[in-house]
């Protein structure tokens, strides 16, 4: 009896303790922002479980961050928050194959004093494969939210840098308290790009190809040395520690693939040439010119992430302009259109060749992603292949197909819900689930109302409108228009050039506390060079500095807002 009493007291005590713990937890969120429940049920929805596999009137249950059940005959848990899925379309959230999502660009390393250009320190040369994306991850980065808004829940993200910036990791595009919480899979790839060191070796693609071979061959030798020392160190010369060569070990043992940022057809073939010489596992990302490479990809089994960026469609001349065109100009315009079609149609042609490619968001302005996907579909890509390229293909390539890529029980609850079939012009994303957490989006009234909002925003916004810029380059002054618009909360813009050069899209446009900054890329002899522009807006005047990290060079840019804006 006494014993029983003791037991009861203890049980009550324990229960009290438990309750008070719950109480404490509740009090630790004074903001009240944490979700009431992590159990959700989307009922009576159209569920596209995987490309070509559609369920109508189905329920999806989400619990503890996982997809708990999917089907037409599913019991909804009592504690679930219900989402009426009538007229909603449920997809696996998208997976981005290569980007810098969530990464914060580190300060450029200043040129060391007395730099010996043939043999610079590794960090100045951009040879830092031992670094990890995780060290650059910033939970505050707005790239996470802006990619999530477009339907993505996962990014294969790589660090900023030069030739060998470090290893890429697979991250979840959620709002988390700590950078580590974003990481789904750490250090899954070694990121490489043809970006030379400013005024030091390796300075360009010639040196980079050679340096890569040299590092790789040495790592192969060093790995053997390390292994045999680990087996039995007695009487064996001690292997010297070297973070660069050690970072190559998982690559030479083919446990970790090398991912190249290679947009042009020649760069892609250079990456493949290195792979053929050395034998590592290869992924190519941010690929923009692949229409001649389908067979090569197929034969080599190369893993491919096509760029989600597309060139602007050539404008067809009309009326008087068309009448005044010479026959030669017409032929040249026709060729431009042919090549635009190649860019827009390459996803379709790769799919038809049987290449299971994914997509990369590296060079695309996020709010153009859907429009570009629809353009690819107009140019022959099937919706199933498009969805596969956004979900199942990258999941397979990145080795996460057991936990992501489809709407199936047991997978991580990464789900995109739209108010119409996604690959239609007017569809909008209403909810995103990332790692089981729900994100709501406002459905905007389409067309006329949207334009009206934009115009109103333009009227009030100090940067939206047309500017005339003047930019000093070593070749002389360049002038043109800087046209900035705003869609929702995001700025977009382009730079036109008065000397007849092509328009450049302004990337990562931000305007905070009077500081307008953006970046754009120019083609410098076959190499894409990124220019970063930052400066202050005072009334109608913009005073900025353009810096080119690839050349360790900066120059002023000024702009004046055009009248009548």
């Amino acid at each position: 009896m006494k014993l029983l009493l003791m037991k009861t007291i203890r049980a009550v005590f324990l229960m009290l303790l438990t309750v008070s713990t719950i109480g404490l937890n509740a009090q630790s969120d004074p903001t009240g922002e944490s979700a009431v429940t992590r159990t959700f049920a989307i009922t009576n929805a159209t569920v596209i479980q995987a490309p070509g596999k559609e369920l109508k009137g189905a329920t999806v249950v989400i619990k503890n961050g996982l997809i708990d059940a999917v089907g037409t005959n599913v019991t909804v848990p009592k504690n679930a928050q219900l989402i009426d899925g009538k007229d909603l379309f449920v997809y696996a959230a998208f997976i981005d194959g290569l980007s810098n999502t969530g990464a914060k660009r580190p300060e450029n390393m200043p040129r060391p004093n007395n730099l010996f250009s043939p043999d610079p320190p590794n960090d100045y040369a951009g040879i830092t494969p031992e670094r990890s994306l995780v060290d650059q991850l910033d939970i505050e980065s707005n790239t996470i939210g802006s990619l999530r808004k477009e339907g993505f829940a996962i990014s294969h993200s790589v660090p900023f840098g030069r030739m060998l910036p470090g290893s890429g990791s697979i991250i979840l595009l959620g709002d988390k308290k700590h950078a580590d919480d974003l990481v789904l899979s750490k250090d899954v790839s070694m990121f490489t790009q043809f970006a030379g060191a400013p005024g030091a070796y390796p300075g360009n693609v010639l040196g980079i190809m050679a340096k890569f071979r040299n590092l790789y061959r040495n790592a192969e030798n060093d790995k053997k040395h390390f292994d045999s020392y680990a087996q039995n160190p007695s009487g064996l010369e001690r292997p010297e520690r070297d973070r660069v060569t050690e970072a190559f070990f998982p690559v030479v043992t083919k446990q970790r693939p090398v991912i190249f940022d290679v947009s042009g057809v020649l760069e892609v073939q250079r990456a493949i040439r290195l792979q053929k010489d050395l034998g590592f596992k290869l992924m190519v990302g941010n690929v923009k010119q692949a229409w001649d490479l389908g067979q090569t990809f197929k034969e080599n089994g190369t893993n491919v992430f096509l760029s989600l960026d597309l060139p602007d469609a050539p404008k067809e001349a009309k009326g008087k302009d068309k009448d005044e065109m010479t026959e030669e100009a017409k032929r040249l315009e026709a060729r431009k259109m042919d090549f635009y079609k190649k860019y827009a149609g390459q996803a379709a042609s790769l799919a038809n060749t049987g290449v299971k490619f994914g997509f990369s968001s590296l060079d695309v302005t996020s709010n153009k992603i859907k429009a570009n996907l629809l353009t690819m579909i107009e140019n022959g890509l099937s919706e199933n292949d498009a969805l596969a390229a956004l979900t199942t293909n990258p999941a397979g390539i990145l080795g996460i197909d057991k936990i992501a890529g489809t709407v199936e029980a047991g997978k991580i609850a990464n789900i995109m819900i739209s108010n119409a079939p996604y690959f239609t012009k007017d569809s909008q994303i209403k909810f995103m689930f990332v790692d089981g957490d729900k994100y709501d989006f406002e459905i905007k009234e389409k067309s006329a109302a949207g334009n009206g909002n934009r115009a109103a925003a333009a009227g009030n916004d100090p940067v939206v409108g047309s500017w005339t810029y003047n930019f000093e380059t070593p070749q002389g002054a360049t002038t043109g228009k800087m046209i900035i618009g705003k869609e929702g909360t995001e700025y977009t813009g382009k730079l036109t050039s008065n000397d007849g050069g092509p328009d450049n899209d302004m990337q990562e446009v931000s305007y905070v506390n009077g500081t307008l900054s953006f970046s754009f890329s120019i083609d410098a002899g076959g190499q894409s060079v990124e220019l970063v522009v930052t400066g202050t807006v005072t009334g109608k005047q913009y005073d900025a500095e353009v810096s080119v990290s690839a050349f360790n060079f900066s120059t002023p840019l000024t702009a004046t807002k055009d009248d009548g804006q």
């Binding site: 060191a197 070796y201 390796p202 040249l332």
Partner: protein
Amino acid sequence: MKKNILILTLILFTGFVANAQVKKGDVLIKNATVLTITKGTLENTDVLVRDGKISRIGKNLKAPNGVQEIDATGKFVMPGIIDAHSHIALSAVNEGTSQVTAEVNMGDVIDPFDVSIYRALAGGVTSTHALHGSANVIGGESETLKLRYGTTNPEEMKFEDAPRTIKFALGENPTRGGRSRGIQPSSRMGVEAMLRNSFNDAVAYRAKWDAYKADKNPRKVAPEYDLRMETLVDILDGKVLVHCHSYRADEIYMLMKVFTDFGIKKLTYQHANEAYKVASELAEFGAGASVFADWWAYKLEVYWSTAYNATILTRNGVLTSINSDSGELIRHLFHEAAKTQKYGDLSDDEALSLITLNPAKQLGIDNRVGSIEVGKDADIAIFEGHPLSVYAIPVMTFVDGVKYFDRATDIDDQRIYINPEETVENISIFNRHDEDRCMEEGVVSFEALFSNKK
């Protein structure tokens, strides 16, 4: 080990397959004046090409079934022109950050989209020697190309199985680079020192690896691998032909002494404007020279020159060729060769050899190209008018029997890839050909030459 051999065989086989995909043509050229270079000039003669090779040369040949016939009555057929010094078809020319870059390879940066390739074909050129620039004392390995314009695959531009070659440079270009970076070399003495130091390092490197390979200890530790040294060792072992940018007689002579000391034999001087001063020494060494017909005075070290250079070298028994080093000159190398008849009275065969057989020998590809002979590759140029005449017009150019240029069907826009965002008004015929030269910084002001502010 067996597995490695298997993999190696597979790799070689894949390489072979890739090469085998290169287009080969069949054609019968009828009734031409054939300038064979090696076997005289043959009037009213036919040349039959089968599967990319010259299969018969003779009179009244019949075209086999399905083989296209070209009437070349009144026209001249010559071997395709070979340019031993070119920087067209390359995405990058110099890795100028270091003064010894034997590890870099122009085969990595071939640009098959360069329209200069088509312009060269339109001048009867079928092969170029795509060299590293002259910023470095020891530049990178070069790549011998066949001008198969239209391919998007850089590998298909390569002259299969051509010997490896490498670019060296003496004089003002490498010293200017050294001085501007505050590193060696800043004088001609420094250039020689760098060469000797590099080869001494290579000798030591080779010894280290030889010792490692001879070591029977199963737990042996490999020495550090160094691609730069690997290439230098291959030069010492005679596996790589050296092509050296040079102008002055003293530096030309210096390199022969260095090479004699290290036992390196395969050497061709590029530019070599003062080679005529050391012609007999070159002949004795067995070095070749690849020169301009009459181009000089673009910087101080190139002042003491003569248009008789090629003739003097030829008459002294030096293997000589005439090159372009330019996307413009490459279009009329036949004119450049003809200048040696004005300045030196070379025979037709001697003059044409300067742009065909001789550069082929300097590149080690004379078993395949450089003359019209049965069994050689069908790399052929057809001219209206004798190619050494000022009225010569190239009308067709074949590589491996495939026609890549035909004046009759020449279209305006030869670009392979188009940027859909570019403005049409911007198109011009001028291709900034000065950028195709390794001496792009060659012209400096008189003041700058004597200034200490470098």
